[in-house]
Point group: C3
Chain length 174, copies 3
């Protein structure tokens, strides 16, 4: 009987400790001043993400705002680097919103693995990393070490609907 | 003896049911009016695909025709959106041809996971999704739900040999 | 006792044989005239690589030289195809240097799976494969069959810090 009580208490404490390790992402996002959005639907015959094993492959996402509008224009021509940074951050908010909508709980995110960050820009533009930092800084602020990703930042001559940024992500989940 | 016969019959029926679930892709492609091609050889020191675990990583493919020629030119400049759509569809035919040649049986395709669809276009072009739909519509027509993929559609200023479309795909196989 | 000696000898020979299969990459790189560099640090809030399962996702890398400088300019405008080939090779040296620094032993590389090779070039440039061959030829020279990868070669209108080439790689490790 004593052994049973000990086991019960141990299990209870272990579960409690595990629950404590869970991050209250709703609270964290609020503290960071980030409001999630209703993710945009795919504009064609594809899906928002596909899971294979414990990897999620997300479709390319853009700087969608809560009202359904999005940031357009070429960085370095129509937008400053700072505005590009904000567009990349907005894309991050859209991606986190998609993850939340699909996973239910952001605690299921084990690692942000790989990021391809694309900047819509002129051929003379060379500050793509400063733009995509808007995404990376947000992701690391939200997910901490789990958010530290391998990244490529590149510049393309045009993007769908003239969006300023497009980002695709691979996420490891539980 | 009775048990043996029961087991034999059960195994026979189970195998027969599994065979029924297999899709006759040759028939399906014919119904869709799609003729597979002999896949083009890599133009350099690389291979058509690499398997790791149950994922196939395919090399970037283009709009190859059966006679070895391919669709060239920038969409929005040299080609209309509709012609771009056809080039993306032709690229899909080339990719299905490669999968068939390498896997032997398209029933081994478990899921088309991730697609990067690249349109060769001018910097003012913004209809990349409408072009890459030529690929996505074909893949979903052929593979059904297994064909529903996460996708990025982007515009690049130039592609090898001035091909109009380049698409790379990750496929989950049995 | 006799059985013990047999077992001992067998284990010794098996280990010796396994050691023989290991490649002396330091020697091989020297023979190929390749000097590894100290890998450049990420220029922003991301990491050089992320491992998930037995796959390594590497951040996009560029043509870094040992002295910390890098090859800049657009191929076909500022650089010839041959100079672009050398830039792609230099990017390969940087990537092998990163793998060596992170893995300790290049024998842990089981397969170079997937390569996205990006050439910084004008919109009229169509020889991206000839440029990215600088990377592919090096990787196959160093890793042999393990180095044979699925590849996409593309042209982008601009890259970070005006680097001439950016390459991202997925590697399967032991």
């Amino acid at each position: 009987m004593k052994r049973f009580i000990t086991l019960f208490l141990f299990t209870f404490i272990a579960n409690w400790a595990a629950a404590q390790q869970k991050i209250d992402y709703d609270k964290k996002l609020k503290e960071l001043g980030i409001a999630l959005i209703t993710p945009a639907k795919p504009v064609a015959n594809y899906v928002k993400m596909v899971r294979t094993g414990n990897l999620l492959y997300l479709a390319g996402d853009g700087p969608w705002r809560a009202d359904g509008s999005y940031v357009t224009g070429k960085v370095g021509v129509d937008l400053s680097v700072e505005q590009g940074y904000e567009a990349a951050k907005q894309t991050g908010i859209s991606i986190i919103s998609t993850l939340k909508a699909e996973l239910g709980d952001l605690n299921k995110v084990k690692r942000i693995v790989k990021v391809l960050g694309i900047v819509n820009c002129a051929s003379s533009f060379t500050d793509q990393p400063k733009v995509i930092n808007g995404f990376s800084d947000l992701i690391v602020a939200v997910f901490g070490d789990k958010g530290k990703h391998a990244r490529s930042a590149v510049g393309m001559s045009s993007l769908p609907m003239n969006t300023s940024v497009e980002i695709e992500v691979i996420v490891e989940v539980e």
